[in-house]
C-alpha cells in the first residue's frame, strides 16, 4: 500500500491561510490504514484548523468529507455538486489523489495535506516500512523474495557492499542490510549457490528514469 505521513500543521496552515471556504477531503484506503488521511485524521485536522483560525479572528468555513478513494473518477464525481462551495480543497489522499482531483476540478485549488512516502507494508501498528520501488521489472525470484532495489540504500544488485555491518546498513544501524537478509534467506532455502550468479546490469528505463509510466490493457478497455 501507499504510505503517507501527515504534513506538519504549520505547513498546512500556511497552505490554507488565504482560503475562506475549505473542504478537507480524506481517503478511505491507504492513508486510512497508515493513519494519515482517513476520516479520523480529517476530523482532527478540521477541528485543529478551526480553533487556530478562530483564535486568529479569521473564522473559516471548514467542512469534512471522506471518499472511498481519490484515484478513481467515480468517487471523485461524488463531490461535483458541492465543489463550488469551496475556495480550495485540502486533500489528505496520497499524491495520486491530490493530482487526480486537480485534473477533475480545474477551477478549485487542490492542496496536499500529507507527504506521500513510499510503497510499503504494515509491520505493526504505527510502523510502516518500504518494500517496493516500482522499478517495473521485478527481480524477487532471484533474490529470495527480498528486494535489493527498495531495501538497499545503494540498490546494489550484487551485494552486499562493504558497509554492511552485523546485518545492518552503514547509514542507519536500525536498518537491516538487504543483502544480509537475502543471504540469510538463501541459506534457509538451501540455495546459497545462487549467490554467485551475477545479476546483470539493470534496464532502468522501466522505472522513473524512463519517464512517467502508463499501463494500458486493451483487453479490458471497452
Amino acid at each position: 500500500m501507499i504510505i503517507a505521513e501527515k504534513k506538519p500543521i504549520e505547513e498546512i496552515i500556511k497552505e490554507v491561510e488565504e482560503f475562506d471556504r475549505l473542504l478537507i477531503l480524506g481517503c478511505n484506503e491507504c492513508v486510512t490504514v497508515c493513519e494519515a488521511g482517513g476520516k479520523k485524521e480529517v476530523e482532527i485536522l478540521a477541528s485543529v484548523l478551526r480553533m487556530h483560525f478562530i483564535k486568529e479572528g479569521k473564522e473559516k468555513k471548514i467542512d469534512e468529507r471522506t471518499l472511498q478513494r481519490q484515484c478513481d473518477h467515480e468517487y471523485l464525481e461524488e463531490i461535483r455538486d458541492v465543489i463550488d462551495q469551496y475556495d480550495a480543497v485540502l486533500s489528505l489522499a496520497c499524491g495520486v489523489g491530490v493530482q487526480f482531483l486537480a485534473e477533475k476540478y480545474l477551477s478549485t485549488p487542490m492542496l496536499p495535506g500529507v507527504n506521500t512516502i513510499c510503497l510499503g507494508a504494515n509491520e505493526e501498528r504505527g510502523v510502516w516500512t518500504e518494500r517496493c520501488q516500482a522499478c517495473g521489472e521485478c527481480v524477487l525470484a532471484r533474490t529470495a523474495g527480498i528486494c535489493p532495489i527498495s531495501r538497499c540504500a545503494k540498490r546494489v544488485l550484487n551485494g552486499p557492499c562493504g558497509g554492511s555491518s552485523n546485518g545492518k546498513c552503514e547509514i542507519n544501524k536500525d536498518l537491516d542490510c538487504a543483502w544480509q537478509l537475502i543471504i540469510d534467506r538463501l541459506k534457509a532455502l538451501d540455495r546459497m549457490d545462487e549467490y554467485e550468479q551475477i545479476a546483470s546490469i539493470k534496464d532502468w528505463s522501466t522505472e522513473r528514469a524512463g519517464g512517467p509510466r502508463t499501463v494500458i490493457r486493451e483487453d479490458v478497455q471497452v
Partner: protein, 313 residues
Amino acid sequence: MSLKTSSKLEKILYTAKEQGHFAVTSECGPPRGSDPEAVTKKGALIKDYVDCVNITDNQTSMTRMCSLAACVHLKQMGIEPVLQMVTRDRNRIALQSDILGAASFDIHNILCLTGDHQSFGDCAQGQNVHDLDSMQLIQTVRHMRDEGKFLGGDDIKRPPDMFVGAAANPFADPFEIRVPRLAKKIACGVEFIQTQCIYNLDKFEEWMKRIRERGLHEKVYILAGMTPMKSAGMAKFMKNRVPGMDVPDEVIKRLAGVEKKKQSQEGIDICVEAMLRLKEVEGVAGFHVMAIEWEEKVPEIVERSGLYPRPEV
C-alpha cells in the same frame, strides 16, 4: 598467458613469481580544492617507493577534486596512477566517459567500487546514482577493453587499455560470503584486488587459505592492505567505530603499552612486522600501503619490509 594491458602494475604482478618480488601500491586523497600541488607533493614523497598510487574518488562522500584530474597530475610527474571509481555519483554514460577520459591520458589502472553512502559526506541531501554496482562496473571496463565496445553496442575508437581492480574486505560481514564474493568479482573479470587494511593476521591467513582452496589466488592478484596505526587512540577508534575493521586487542595493548610519543613508531613497527609475515603467505602478490595524511612514512615502511628498491619493468 601474457600481459593484457600496458599497466606497470600488471607487469610487476605478472613477473612477481618468477622474479621473486612483490608489488607495492599506495594511496592519496585529492584535496578539497583545486590546488594540484596538494597531489603532487604527496606523490613526490612516495614516488620511488611504490609501483603505483591510487587516487580516491570523493572518499566518504566528501566532495573533492575528482580522481581523474588528480590521476592526470600524478601521471604528468611520472607516477603510474590507479583511478578509483565509485558508482555512487555517475551513471553508465558518465562512467564510460570518464574511463575513456582516463584512457586518453594513458591511465592504465582502475579500481571499481560502490562508494560510501552520500549521507556520510558534505552533500547528504543529494541524489545517489548507482546505475551500475561495482561488479557491473568491473564487467563494463572489461567489455570496453576486450570487446572494444560501449555498453550500448557501438565500437569504441581506441578502447581503454586498463588493468581492472576491485576491493575486498576479509573482515566484513557476513564472513561466510567473503570468498564467494571474491569468486563473483573474479567471474565479473577483476584482475587485481586490494584488501581493506589488515591487523588480524590470523583471520587474514584463514581467508587466504579458503581462497587457495578454491584456486582463486591463481585467478586474481591479491594485494594486502596495510595502514600503520598512529596511536592507541587511533587503534581503538578503528576497532569500535569503523565498520568492517578487525583490530585485535593485542594490537591495542601493544600500542597502549608504550608512551604516547613512541606510539606512532610502534604502529609502524607493527605494520612492518605484519608485512614481513604476510610476504610468506602463498597468494599474497603485493601490498597496498595506505598511510593517508602520513605519506612521509611510506618510504620507511617499504624499506624495512625489504621491498626497496622497486623493480624496474
